[in-house]
């Protein structure tokens, strides 16, 4: 373990896991509050096309993933704002298109392979390079910055959109900010847990944390703590055997934490009530 910590690739993986563990639940708290728990999944699907586009054009996949997933998030938000039953189907179409487009483009891209595809679908934290880490760190600063600056307004928006409007908040702009921040979080997390599991880290720590908390701030803070524990813990546990994929280990650890919290939370509430 100690030797592992001295390896640069492992240090980079550890920092990436830490940042993902912090960012994903922070954004996730707003997204869950807004009943958009599956937004992360949707953006994750769309981002695959972005990754493949990077391989096809010879640009860094992280950058093309940012562009395409932000565009996808904006599209999702526009459909949601128009909102009615047809929106559901429109979103589903977008998600299928994202995955199918990604698989196709990856297949015809020079140097594209199933192994590469898998590494983005399910994460491959061990291959996080130094330049990836810079992008991840930059995005993480942006995400936390958005939460810090707009958090108060986003809370009102996610609580009740009409009240936000009647308080003079720029509802459309704030909705876009949430969607775009979620897209950036997806890109941060895709190397760590993979595009298919991205939204697990946005949703599970929040669901875990609210078993214990009464307040919104407290829920977010505790969710970030749980996120970090799951991300770092999952990464460390994957070092026990080369067969354990870190992305899946992180998500399963988070899920185990949720199940545990469900039991403990219920026990605590019953004690409090009696």
């Amino acid at each position: 373990m100690i030797e592992l910590l001295q390896l640069p690739f492992f240090q980079q993986a550890l920092i990436a896991a830490l940042l993902v563990g912090l960012c994903a639940p922070a954004v996730g708290t707003f997204i869950v509050q807004r009943r958009l728990a599956l937004l992360g999944d949707g953006i994750g699907h769309v981002a695959l096309t972005g990754v493949a586009l990077g391989f096809l054009t010879g640009t860094a996949p992280v950058l093309t993933a940012i562009i395409v997933s932000v565009a996808g998030a904006v599209a999702i938000e526009l459909v949601r704002a128009r909102g009615r039953t047809t929106g559901d189907v429109a979103l589903a179409l977008l998600f299928y298109g994202g995955i199918a487009g990604g698989v196709l483009l990856m297949a015809i891209a020079p140097g594209g392979s199933n192994a590469k595809l898998n590494s983005y679908l399910f994460g491959s934290i061990a291959t996080v390079a130094a330049e990836d880490l810079w992008v991840i760190a930059g995005l993480a600063v942006a995400v936390i910055g958005v939460v810090a600056v707009f958090g108060r307004e986003l809370f009102v928006l996610c609580q009740d959109e009409e009240v936000a409007k009647a308080s003079g908040l720029p509802v459309r702009l704030l909705s876009m900010i949430i969607a775009i921040t979620a897209a950036l979080t997806v890109v941060i997390a895709m190397r760590v847990v993979g595009l298919l599991l991205v939204s697990a880290l946005m949703v599970i720590p929040v669901a875990t944390s609210q078993q214990f908390t009464n307040g919104f701030r407290a829920t977010m803070g505790l969710a970030m703590l749980f996120g970090v524990i799951a991300a770092v813990g999952g990464l460390l546990s994957s070092t026990l055997s080369p067969k354990v994929p870190p992305g899946a280990a992180i998500v399963l650890l988070a899920l185990a934490g949720f199940v545990l919290a469900l039991g403990v939370g219920r026990f605590v509430r019953r004690r409090r009530a009696s």
């Binding site: 108060r152 009102v156 009647a166 308080s167 829920t219």
Partner: protein, 261 residues
């Protein structure tokens, strides 16, 4: 700014939802200091009317002004406090009573401004006014319906607006909360605030109301002083039995100027 500028001025207001006309040409002017009850049966369009006054519902015809400005270009939102029908529980992320009430400061406390003593004092005052200081740290979602309604009113109080718009503040509210609400409103009226509230039943609020607007089928069917409480009704805590709208003998004399569908 004009001193006696109307708070709300709607002319020929129409709202259409799913091609169904909900408001069909409403003229309504509310002046500062008025306490207006918007009355009507379920589905009459009364809730739509007050939301249209705030620009929360787009007009399909006519126009409306908020302190002399169309809602889309209105900037002075700290002058208005909106109390929605119910607390949105959302995706289940908890929020404490204090967090919800404190969010009422948002029109005054925007980006890059830390919470200061004035914000905190306003939140404490609002909590105290609705009698929820001791519940400030509890989950707002776990309170009773009447208490949640008080949280929503406290949120508006925290912003200290000049005008309150309340959508059914008395619906599904227990007697104690109704009395507390009446006391809170009485203090606001005394302070010269403007209040527009949607109600099904006025209950203990009745003595405070200076004007009753009855909405029926998307048009205003009656606009004037509400019937004064008399006899048994003047007694505090009386059982409220007589509905204000829908009684033929009440709407009878108004037939002549009532807009027909």
């Amino acid at each position: 700014m004009l001193l006696n500028q109307p708070v709300f001025a709607m002319t020929g207001g129409q709202v259409t939802l799913d091609r169904r006309p909900v408001l069909r040409g409403v003229d309504l002017t509310v002046c500062p200091g008025e306490v207006v009850a918007v009355l009507g049966a379920n589905g009459s369009g009364k809730s739509t009317l007050v939301r249209a006054l705030l620009g929360l519902m787009p007009l399909s015809g006519g126009s409306t002004l908020l302190y002399g400005t169309p809602p889309a270009r209105f900037r002075d939102w700290q002058r208005v406090g909106y109390v929605p029908q119910r607390l949105q529980v959302g995706g289940g992320v908890p929020a404490t009573v204090r967090e919800v009430v404190a969010s009422g400061r948002i029109a005054r406390q925007r980006r890059f401004r830390f919470t200061d003593a004035a914000d905190r004092a306003a939140v404490e005052r609002a909590l105290e006014a609705v009698g929820l200081s001791d519940r400030a740290g509890d989950r707002a979602q776990e309170l009773s319906g009447g208490q949640q309604q008080r949280v929503l009113i406290a949120r508006a109080l925290a912003g200290d607006p000049d005008t309150y718009v309340m959508d059914e503040p008395t619906a599904g509210v227990d007697a104690e909360s109704q009395r507390l609400l009446a006391d809170t409103l009485a203090a606001l009226v005394e302070g010269g605030k403007t209040i527009v509230l949607v109600a099904h039943e006025l209950g203990p609020l009745e003595p405070l109301i200076t004007r009753g607007v009855v909405v029926r089928d998307g048009v205003i069917a009656h606009d004037g002083r509400p019937p004064a409480p008399e006899g048994d009704c003047a007694r505090p805590g009386h059982e409220h039995l007589h509905p204000h709208s829908g009684r033929p003998e009440e709407s009878g004399p108004l037939e002549s100027w009532q807009v027909k569908p």
